[in-house]
Amino acid sequence: MNYLIHLLIYFDIYLIVALSLNMIVGYTGMLSLAHAAFYAIGGYAYAILSVNLGWGFIPASMLGAVVAAVLSLIVSLPSWRLRGDFFVLATLAVQALIYSALYNWTSSDAPLGSLRNLTNGPFGITGIPRPSIFGWQIKTQLSYGIFATVVSAICAFVIWRLTSSPWGRLLKAVRDDELAAQGLGKNTRLVKLQVVAIASGLVAIAGALYAGHVRYLDPSSASLDESILMLSMVIVGGLGNFRGPVVGAVLLILLPEALRFVALPDSVAANMRLLIYGLLLIVMMQFRPQGIAGDYRME
């Protein structure tokens, strides 16, 4: 039972991740590798604030979301000038910079969370408490599962309303023909800032959920591998609509779990999982570039 709840919590987390990344990649057509960095920022914000200052989940994750939204400017501002492969490279640079900031913002003689040792570097932050909301402390796995599902449902609802609004159609217009959208008097630069900021803020909340669940956080949650996993979720599931990322999140969470029941030796299992992700990416790009349930073919 605990195992099923654990899976449910992971699904909740990655649902937010995939839906928010889809806003950037699928709706606006900007291939970003920096998403895991903002996810980790949310996680770190929650971890540091709750361990050091005893903040509850809502203020801590909100602050994390704001920090991520502000930092997302370093992804969205380059998108004004860069297209295609070059934008991907710029987001890769952002990912590498944030990763190395999380990895290096440490010194052994200062206490955790102080200005000189903010992240505890490669050793990560341990003993992150389960969240408390309005003075109610979450204790059991089951109540955390319910809590995560509620948070995830709220985020999914926000994304659903946003993407089916006129603003969501503007995103698609920017993706399909930015010049034409500008010609119709739309401020495409502003809309890019908005979408990256909103998506980064939402994924920061997912990061906070992750930190509260695993109760340990290290810089590897901002790594390139994590970004690639998020990207493959969206790409395999489908781009440019609401159901695609849901399918992707379900599939890429259940797939490695299914492998668990095949009798593979432990040393090979992790490699096998990544191998399947890689194969999925190749096969999808080859035969179905819009993903299993998507609308938009990668440009």
């Binding site: 291939l31 380059p78 000038r81 860069l82 297209r83 295609g84 492969d85 070059f86 991907v88 490279l89 710029a90 890769l92 640079a93 952002v94 590498a96 910079l97 990763y99 190395s100 900031a101 990895y103 290096n104 390139l224 690639i228 990207l231 493959s232 790409i235 040393s267 090979v268 490699n271 096998m272 990544l274 191998l275 992700y277 890689g278 194969l279 999925l280 990416l281 190749i282 790009m285 080859q286 570039p289 073919r297 990668m298 440009e299």
Partner: protein, 289 residues
Amino acid sequence: MQIIVNGIVSGAAIAVLALAFQCIYLPTRVFFIGMAGVYAMTPFVAWSVLKAGGGWWLAIPAATLTAVLLCLICEWLIHLPMEKKKASSGAHLIASLGASIVLVQITAMIWGNGTKSLRIGLDSVVRIGDVIVTGAQWITLGAGAALIVAFWALLMKSDLGLRLRALADNPIQFALFGYNVHLYRTFSFVVGGLLAAAASLVTAYDVGFDPHTGLHAVLLAVVAVIIGGRDSFVGPVLGGLMLGLVRAQVVWHWSARWQEAVTFALLAIVLLLLPHGLLGKKTRLEATE
């Protein structure tokens, strides 16, 4: 002085890999991250041949052949079919990323995740004044310089080089003159594979290797290409050397852990302020998409 020498040596290895990347990117417009997998698997083949009792004369050709074959497999199974379907550059990039993951994981499953070394025992050392140059560094420098010169000669003095440059310049016009574009794409993947194998082997001989070095090395090479200028075949060499020098200075003045931050900060600055690179043609980015 020692730092500059170290920088030039590591820069030479980056430069060769950057050339390999550029050699595929310019003619085919495939952002070939799959090269990371090729780069990762090559030294393991050499290691296996050496372990099985074969000498260097057998190990190097075997490893190089593997690299070239892997590049061709990627081209024939992934990129050529996608090119025929007129896939976008983003789709090529993602498929190529998938290819690199697959190759790296296969390598890790066959040979394990551990770090290995091609060299046995301590390296020989040559002192010039107060500068120490190890044997492996001499090999890197020599092989790097020889390959760069050989590649330059191939590109500028041979018919094949002329055609590759023509393909890079304007593929449609090239096809109109009656050349088989797909055949020349294959050539560019072969040359790219050769260069990648060389870069991988010298680095593996110098500092050892594990299955996960590939992606990082290729990203460095891409940064070198961007810094040097992506329209040029000479730019990557300059970019690679510069990157090697800068990284060596970072290690000396601060710490090795800031290397990545400085490298990617450099990439961000160049992308924003000098998007055509040091030696690139000055065009608007939109115009060359």
